[in-house]
């Protein structure tokens, strides 16, 4: 009997199990790190003192506020309107090419907003390709693409897959008996959808909408190229143009407040009903509904967003590339940025998954008040726009962690904070599938808890770790504001070099880099989508439980 054994009986956790100290310590470090940006931001804003009130009540602030909300509302509503029919058509109907289309419909996720924006401007601006085609038909001039319209178009194309994934997951898990019961009680198909299906999908729609709204709030590249000023782009401009960063800090804290409001709003929409199945037993696969001669129309409804959101942008990029190569135009240097992007994304993926591991194990296996606190703490990254995290880390770097400032580790730090929820979510759902008895068996065979984690738990959650890592990789590749703010001077990644060319309207120069970015981002997306499809449902669909507990689990669906 060691003294620690004697002392340890003092530990109280809700299931009576005592987590090993190394797990607690590493989880505590991760949670503290995740809290640093918020703490710093708050401290900075408090320092601003009376300026704070001044800035908040400026008319210009109110105008940005209004524009941001208008964009969020439009993008969210349209994304839901686009995604719900697609979800229904790909799960419940017999449209042709159903399997191909259901994978393709998710793929616009790989497009970074700033790349999407350049191709949208090329295609649909008053001087764009579409105008060229239409002028033959007598259309004088297309409406201006810049501003609210263009920003909405770009963001809807990029974000509707979030709603699609959550709603599709809920549709797949929904017990078909519910709809059958309604039909048996004399409800017609349309009435059934309105009275049973749609209410059951409400949490999924709310969860997906939350992701769309948070993404819209945090996007920088797309709105900036389309010249629509939101909070995020205002903060970036403030940050880049002035020496005094107080304004940026204060605006950031308002941004955080908006994000918190959105998070709370999502919780509010859930209401008090239960959305999970009330019975046990296997869910039957519902029969697909024959929509007869509407089949091809259905396929078109699914296909059009894919066409506009993926195929046309890629075609535009290829067109630029070919034209550039033929005319011997100067293209962006590829090698170094591509290498940097890969390096940073891999590093971010590995670091984030490693950081997520103790949090996830603690949360699933050793539930206690402390483990719940750790989990909540890392969820903060879910609501924080990249620009806010990056700015806080700038302050933190300059004032506290000087050696880290201007090193790529600060950038990695930001990505870990931003993307921890996604990888904790993936690990968590993987861990929930591991029978805890297996770990107990290992322990009864003489391995200490620490060794059990490495010899049994980690190998078994490898699929979740890979999925989480793939998500982080994809998100890091596409990320712009944090990359711009925190990259060491002269350190160029694919996204930052595309951005600097695009922001000076040299769109064609970006072609090769943008194509490469889309291709590389496509690898993890394809992995995540296809992996899920082999077990009959998207991985992301599977983890998006309809009775989700927290928004962070929505986050894992995001990618």
């Amino acid at each position: 009997m060691t003294i620690s054994d004697v002392i340890s009986t003092g530990w109280k956790s809700t299931d009576g199990k005592r987590p090993p100290a190394f797990l607690l310590v590493s989880a505590a470090i991760v949670a503290t790190a995740a809290l640093i940006p918020v703490v710093y931001l708050v401290a900075r804003s408090i320092n601003a003192g009376s300026d704070w009130i001044d800035i908040v009540w400026r008319p210009s602030t109110a105008a940005v506020f209004g524009r941001t909300f208008l964009l969020i509302a439009l993008v969210t509503i349209i994304s839901v309107a686009v995604a719900v029919p697609i979800a229904w058509l790909t799960v419940k109907s017999n449209i042709p090419l159903r399997r191909v289309l259901s994978v393709a419909a998710v793929l616009p996720l790989v497009m970074p907003s700033f790349v999407m924006a350049t191709t949208v401007i090329e295609m649909y601006s008053p001087k764009g390709v579409l105008q060229g085609w239409l002028s033959g038909l007598g259309v004088e001039r297309l409406p201006d693409i810049y501003g609210l319209g263009g920003a909405t178009l770009v963001l809807v194309l990029m974000t509707y897959p979030y709603v699609l994934l959550t709603v599709r997951g809920a549709l797949r898990r929904m017990d078909p008996a519910l709809e059958e019961a309604a039909r048996a009680m004399g409800y017609g198909p349309v009435h059934t959808f309105r009275a049973v299906t749609l209410p059951m999908l409400r949490p999924a729609i709310a969860g997906g909408s939350l992701l769309v709204a948070l993404y819209t709030l945090s996007d920088f590249g797309g709105v900036a190229l389309l010249r629509y000023q939101t909070f995020t782009s205002t903060i970036m401009i403030q940050y880049q143009s002035s020496i005094d960063r107080t304004l940026a800090a204060v605006l950031s804290s308002i941004l955080v407040a908006i994000a918190v409001l959105l998070l709370l709003g999502e919780g509010f929409t859930r209401g008090r009903g239960a959305y999970h199945r009330s019975t046990v037993g296997a869910v039957r696969v519902s029969r697909r509904i024959d929509i007869g001669r509407w089949r091809w129309a259905g396929a078109a409804i699914v296909g059009i967003p894919v066409l506009i959101g993926l195929l046309i942008p890629v075609a535009v990029l290829i067109h630029w590339l070919v034209r550039g190569l033929l005319n011997d135009q100067q293209l962006l240097p590829l090698l170094i940025p591509a290498r940097n992007s890969l390096y940073i994304s891999l590093l971010a993926a590995v670091t984030t998954v490693l950081a997520a591991l103790p949090i996830a194990i603690l949360a699933v296996r050793f539930q206690s008040r402390l483990s719940r606190f750790f989990e909540r703490a890392i969820y903060i990254g879910f609501g924080l726009p990249g620009v806010v995290v990056a700015l806080s880390l700038v302050f933190f770097g300059i004032n506290v962690a000087r050696p880290l400032y201007q090193s790529i580790w600060m950038l990695i730090f930001a990505f870990v904070v931003l993307f921890l929820p996604a990888s904790v979510g993936a690990l968590r759902s993987s861990l929930l599938q591991v029978n805890p008895r297996v770990e107990e068996a290992a322990q009864s065979l003489g391995r200490s808890q620490w060794r059990v984690i490495f010899s049994v738990t980690v190998p078994l959650v490898m699929p979740g770790a890979l999925a989480g890592g793939a998500m982080v990789f994809l998100l890091t590749m596409k990320e712009l504001p944090a990359t711009l703010i925190l990259s060491p001077i002269g350190y160029r990644t694919l996204s930052s070099s595309i951005w600097s060319a695009a922001s000076e309207a040299f769109f064609a120069k970006t072609a090769a880099a943008a194509l490469l970015l889309v291709l590389v981002a496509g690898v993890p997306t394809a992995y995540l989508t296809l992996r899920g499809h082999s077990d009959g449902a998207d991985e992301s669909d599977r983890v998006a439980e309809s009775d989700r507990q927290s928004p962070a689990e929505t986050a894992e669906v995001a990618q």
């Binding site: 809700t14 322990q443 009864s444 065979l445």
Partner: protein, 387 residues
């Protein structure tokens, strides 16, 4: 941590003949002064969030080489008792000793990895990412690779799984998985083997065969074994002694025959075999019930007084029915017959509505609807419990 009992354990396992003698003959032959391999003394264990303890005042002594089963209905706390022994649950009072060492009490808790206990889980809990050989090898860490290979071969042979070394768990049937789970638990030469509902995931036919196999394997290995089950057949057929659990604690412990023949309480009787308990009045050595008047015996040292209310234990196999004559009192009706080949089981409805079952040879059958009187076969004595 050095295990003082390990030497002794190895000695046992290299001389299977000796152990078989111990396990096979009456466990009572072991001097009672000898320390048990597993010993629980006044143990209480509760789960956080529930007021009532899962087990309390729990006493159990398993002697070296003995096979003991804990029989109880689900929720009685029998798995908790097993997990207490294995070290997955902490006890709030009482003492847990394994191999003579104190491993659990309100102030001591030896973690499971230091208890050297072989545990076979209800769902086997084999490592899905490892092969059969690697699963069995898992508990042999610290030994050189060569020796590990040498050690697992005889264990796999014993459970009849030689040749499956490189298979993965999902490539095995349920019964095979269970054999591997037993091999894995036995390979590190544990102080004791714990089996948690080992047959519940198998279909009925496989169950009986595997039960015999496990009994043989355990005998061969000489391992001291504690099995937990809710299936009375399993408990009675496999073990040297059966510990019957009531609510939270053990109500009776003894050889299967003892427990079956002399159940200490109505609750034990119900758990140990199919039976009905019908109310009656004790009167001078007989019990007067609605079904008839029967000679009695008691299994506890409680004395029954004349006129005392009692419960009479009615077992289908001990009852007989006779067609009632005109003058017979206390008659009842044959409601249903179930032909089972050699035997027929009769459902007898008493006039108060109570149902009795009678199991008798299939010849000279009694028709449904007949009025009958109920007797014990050969006027055997009926066990009565005071109410």
């Amino acid at each position: 941590m050095k295990m003082p009992w390990r030497r002794q354990k190895i000695d046992i396992s290299v001389q299977p003949g000796v152990t078989m003698g111990v396990a096979g003959s009456e466990a009572a032959g072991v001097p009672s002064t000898e320390a048990g391999v597993i010993e629980l003394q006044g143990v209480e264990c509760s789960y956080p969030g529930s007021d009532a303890p899962a087990i309390s005042e729990f006493n159990l002594l398993v002697k070296p080489g003995e096979f003991v089963s804990i029989l109880g209905r689900s929720g009685a706390g029998k798995t908790t008792a097993l997990r207490v022994v294995a070290g997955f649950e902490r006890v709030s009072s009482g003492y847990v000793r394994v191999g003579g060492q104190l491993v659990g009490s309100s102030f001591v808790h030896v973690p499971p990895d230091q208890r050297r206990i072989g545990l076979v889980f209800q769902d086997y809990a084999l490592f899905p990412h490892l092969t059969v050989a690697k699963n069995v090898e898992f508990g042999l860490k610290g030994l050189p690779a060569e020796e590990r290979r040498v050690r697992i071969a005889p264990v796999l042979k014993m459970v009849g799984m030689s040749g499956y070394e490189s298979r993965y768990v999902h490539e095995l049937s349920g019964g095979q998985q269970q054999r591997v789970a037993i091999a894995r638990a036995l390979a590190p030469d544990p102080v004791a083997l714990l089996l948690d509902e080992p047959f519940s995931n198998l279909d009925r036919q496989l169950r009986a065969a595997l039960r015999r196999d496990i009994k043989r394997i355990v005998r061969e290995s000489g391992a001291t074994t504690l099995l937990v089950t809710h299936d009375r057949e399993e408990a009675l057929a496999t073990s040297d002694r059966v510990a019957v659990m009531g609510e939270n604690s053990i109500e009776q412990i003894g050889t299967p025959e003892e427990v079956y023949k002399n159940p200490a309480s109505a609750a034990v009787a119900k758990l140990i075999g199919p039976c009905e308990l019908i109310p009656g009045v004790f009167r001078g050595g007989v019990v007067v019930t609605e079904a008839g008047v029967f000679p009695t015996r008691v299994t506890t040292d409680i004395r029954m007084a004349d006129g005392q209310q009692a419960l009479a234990l009615m077992r289908a196999s001990e009852l007989e029915i006779v067609l009632a004559g005109e003058e017979d009192q206390r008659t009842s009706t044959v409601e249903m017959t179930e032909f089972e080949g050699e035997f027929t089981e009769y459902s007898i409805r008493l006039d108060s509505g109570t149902l009795l079952r009678v199991r008798r040879r299939a010849e000279d059958s009694v028709d449904v609807g007949s009025r009958v009187t109920v007797h014990t076969r050969g006027d055997a004595k009926v066990i009565v419990f005071p109410v």
